[in-house]
């Protein structure tokens, strides 16, 4: 297992940092979070067609760069750091799902447009609240017509390709799980952006009433593929989260050096110092897990499922603790709308419960460790 980033990876990170510092300063985040579509198409075009970020982990055969989930993790991290408002996580996970389940010809058809950013993709799995496992799918697919409701769909309102996980009902057999492709403008599909505490990331509710869909990757049960896809989603989110957490640590340390109370920088008070040391510990431990899991994903490590749970749980708790301490150390100003801290706090809170909360992942971690 690789425990440092190589030079190409460092280069990729540097490129991403430069681009994001330029294109996603907080003023842009604040502007875009108030819009309905939630992203800037010009920036999207730049990061996809110019920089190739959307092509990262897509094999070269399908117009991608042929890099791995490790590189994708770097991009998630940097986007999490700057709270980039863009359908990147959605599209990357959509692509991941297609790569996991689709046939060669389906991949050849779908992935090139995703790689260039021409098409925005997303993944629609979750339905009723509190259930993130593979057993929670109730949306039905019968004769390739979908009926049901998907919730918490990332950027569903702007996605061109929606990869929908459905329960297929066939004759004489038990239900199976299948992946379906639905076009964003398919008749019978109602898409609605829901209100969340984190308006930098658009979540949607999708209602399917007899919507035409295409089964991807044949008719076998795809439960195992779903579990794998969800693990990769959790790892992706974990990497995004540690980026945000690191931003808050940096921000807190800077603020503590500048802010004067009682004739000293508050960063010279031990209470603040020790909190910052603990924040650093939190973020570095969470990073180690997120990096390790992303690297494992790149090398198809058999331990991957355990690592997905571990990385997501570690990142969730670290990010939340850090976000709460960051506000606390900022004091009253940290609770105001004009201070940027709350943008990350809200991202931390929504990410904590997205793709399964820490107790869900911990329980699953032990289950998987036992087997």
């Amino acid at each position: 297992m690789q425990f440092t980033f190589n030079e190409e990876q460092d280069q990729l990170r540097a490129t991403a940092q430069k681009f994001l510092a330029d294109k996603s300063p907080t003023v842009e985040v604040r502007r875009l979070m108030e819009t309905h579509q939630g992203y800037d198409p010009i920036v999207w075009a730049q990061l996809s067609s110019e920089l190739g970020f959307t092509a990262t982990h897509i094999p070269e055969t399908y117009g991608g760069l042929g890099l791995s989930y490790a590189e994708l993790g770097i991009l998630f991290e940097e986007m999490g750091r700057t709270l980039l408002c863009a359908p990147f996580l959605a599209t990357a996970l959509g692509a991941t799902a297609i790569m996991n389940v689709a046939t060669e010809s389906e991949k050849s058809e779908l992935l090139p447009d995703i790689a260039t950013g021409t098409r925005i993709a997303t993944l629609a799995v979750f339905e009723s609240s509190g259930k993130w496992g593979t057993d929670s799918i109730e949306l039905t697919a019968k004769n390739n017509r979908l009926n049901g409701t998907k919730r918490y769909v990332l950027d569903g309102h702007i996605a061109n390709f929606i990869i929908v996980v459905a329960r297929t009902t066939t004759r004489n057999e038990t239900d199976t799980i299948g992946f379906f492709l639905v076009n964003g403008d398919a008749p019978g599909l109602k898409r609605r952006v829901v209100n969340t505490i984190d308006s930098t990331r658009k979540l949607t509710q999708l209602e399917f009433v007899d919507v035409a869909a295409r089964r991807l990757g044949g008719n076998d049960d795809q439960s195992a593929k779903l579990a794998e896809t969800l693990d990769l989603a959790a790892i992706g989110l974990a990497n995004e989260m540690v980026g945000g957490a690191q931003h808050l640590v940096d921000e807190t340390v800077n603020y503590a050096a500048e802010r004067i109370q009682f004739g000293r920088a508050i960063g010279s008070f031990q209470a603040i110092k020790h909190k910052c040391a603990d924040m650093l510990l939190d973020v570095e431990m969470a990073k180690s897990a997120a990096y390790y899991a992303a690297t494992a994903a790149a090398s198809s490590d058999p331990e991957l499922p355990v690592l997905a749970n571990l990385a997501k749980a570690a990142a969730s708790e670290a990010y939340m603790r850090i976000a709460a301490e960051c506000i606390q150390i900022h004091g009253g100003i940290g609770f105001t709308w004009d201070n940027d801290t709350h943008l990350w706090f809200k991202r931390a809170k929504s990410s904590e419960v997205f793709f399964g909360d820490p107790s869900y992942h911990k329980e699953q971690l032990v289950t998987r460790w036992q087997h």
């Binding site: 004067i260 109370q261 009682f262 506000i327 004091g331 609770f335």
Partner: protein, 420 residues
């Protein structure tokens, strides 16, 4: 002899109320009567709208008012802090100008202490008051000012001497908020509410007769205000009156209460809404999850021990015993309760806890809890300041070396209006 005095007092007040209380009077009319008679603030001195009543007997007065639902003098918001401060530190002219209209509710007040550069370190204020020969000229900025946009007057802490040590260079003023040099802007919070204001002073003026106590004694006067603020925190809870009562005076009082309470409407969410936890856990079925049950139990332990600890403190106070350490722990305990409640709500509502407004559980209330709780451990003194106070004042631990002694001009401070 007290029981006898008490009975006498009760009878006297009953008689007075019987002949004067009128639910259809106007609020100001009735409160003017209260102020003149001394029944509005009977523990105040008799020359200033009071009756020199001992504190011990005061509960009888409250009982009699409550018994017939008689409206009291205006007690909400910053008013009574202003009155208590003026009563203790003001001169006769100030008392006669301000106290009466405070009691009738005709004037609204606000408190102008905190600044962007001095939060935990209140005495580090750099809003300046300079005497131009005929009046005080005020420049600077205050923040976290509740109801400044309604206020007629403000209690202002400002620096008048930059050569004196930090605490000795402050003076205390009453400032007319309705003047061109005073600009009030709402301060929006991360939960979307705007309970507070920022107040900007640009060559605002204060007449010499509105200087309270002597120059350089502002910190001491401010301490009086803050002491009363802590005492009156409880009073906020009991301000709501039965909605069914009929009469012009109740309508007017309800309007007044609604205005005063507006900034506080998210406070229950800030406190974590422990009341909702069991209900939500049952509703969602999470009550059967052993992990959630542990978290609920932890919350119940924190919430109930906090409540009992507060009652221990109150009981000791009521018996006139010296307060033990338990009296200083309420704020820290409240932070723990709120944080744990936020954690439990998140566990119970799961992914739904990020949904707001009509999409979220209880029409967004859960989400509002989660983004309001961070205020609990900051407002009114951060947990860190609380721990300092507990360690140094309650446990008597040795103080930290101070870096803010000597002339305030030379003390390191945040950027802001410079010394002249």
């Amino acid at each position: 002899m007290q029981p006898l005095d008490g009975e006498k007092l009760r009878n006297e007040l009953r008689l007075w109320l019987e002949s004067n209380w009128d639910p259809n009077a106007s609020l100001i009319e009735w409160r003017s009567k209260l102020a003149e008679s001394g029944w509005g603030m009977p523990t105040w001195p008799s020359q200033w709208f009071g009756k020199d009543l001992s504190l011990v007997l005061n509960p009888i007065v409250d009982e009699e008012f409550a018994r017939i639902n008689a409206v009291t003098v205006a007690r909400s918001g910053i008013r009574l802090l202003a009155a208590a401060t003026i009563l203790e530190h003001g001169d006769d002219s100030q008392k006669s100008r301000y106290l009466r209209r405070i009691l009738t509710g005709e004037d609204t007040w606000c408190q102008l202490f905190s600044e962007p550069g001095s939060g935990s370190d209140l005495a580090g204020a750099i809003t300046r008051a300079d005497f131009d020969g005929s009046q005080w000229i005020i420049n600077g900025q205050k923040v976290w000012t509740t109801s400044a946009h309604h206020a007629d007057y403000g209690l202002l802490l400002a620096r008048t001497d930059w050569e004196a040590p930090k605490h000795d260079g402050l003076s205390y003023f009453v400032i007319d908020m309705r003047q061109p040099g005073v600009n009030v802007h709402p301060l929006k919070q991360m939960n979307g509410h705007a309970s507070f204001n920022q107040v900007f002073f640009t060559d605002a003026v204060v007449a010499p007769e509105d200087q309270v106590d002597r120059i350089g004694n502002g910190w001491k006067v401010a301490m009086t205000t803050l002491m009363h603020e802590r005492r009156s925190a409880d009073a906020l809870r009991s301000v709501y009156r039965d909605r069914d009562l009929e009469g012009r005076i109740y309508d007017e009082e309800r309007d007044e209460t609604a205005t005063v309470m507006e900034p506080y409407k998210w406070y229950p969410q800030r406190a974590g809404r422990v009341d909702l936890v069991f209900e939500r856990a049952i509703e969602t079925g999470k009550i059967d999850d052993p992990v959630v049950r542990q978290a609920i139990a932890e919350l119940m332990i924190k919430a109930r021990t906090a409540e009992w600890t507060a009652r221990r403190a109150r009981a000791a106070q009521q018996q006139g015993r010296p307060q033990g350490p338990e009296g200083s722990l309420g704020k820290l305990a409240a932070s723990h309760v709120a944080r744990q409640a936020s954690k439990v709500h998140t566990m119970i509502s799961g992914s739904d806890s990020m949904l707001g407004d009509e999409d979220g559980p209880l029409a967004g209330l859960i989400a509002e809890i989660l983004i309001s709780v961070p205020a609990t451990s900051i407002a009114g003194g951060t947990d860190e300041i609380q721990r300092n106070i507990i360690a140094e004042r309650v446990l008597g631990m040795p103080k930290e070396p101070r870096m803010d002694t000597g002339p305030f001009r030379d003390v390191m401070k945040n950027p802001g209006p410079a010394a002249p």
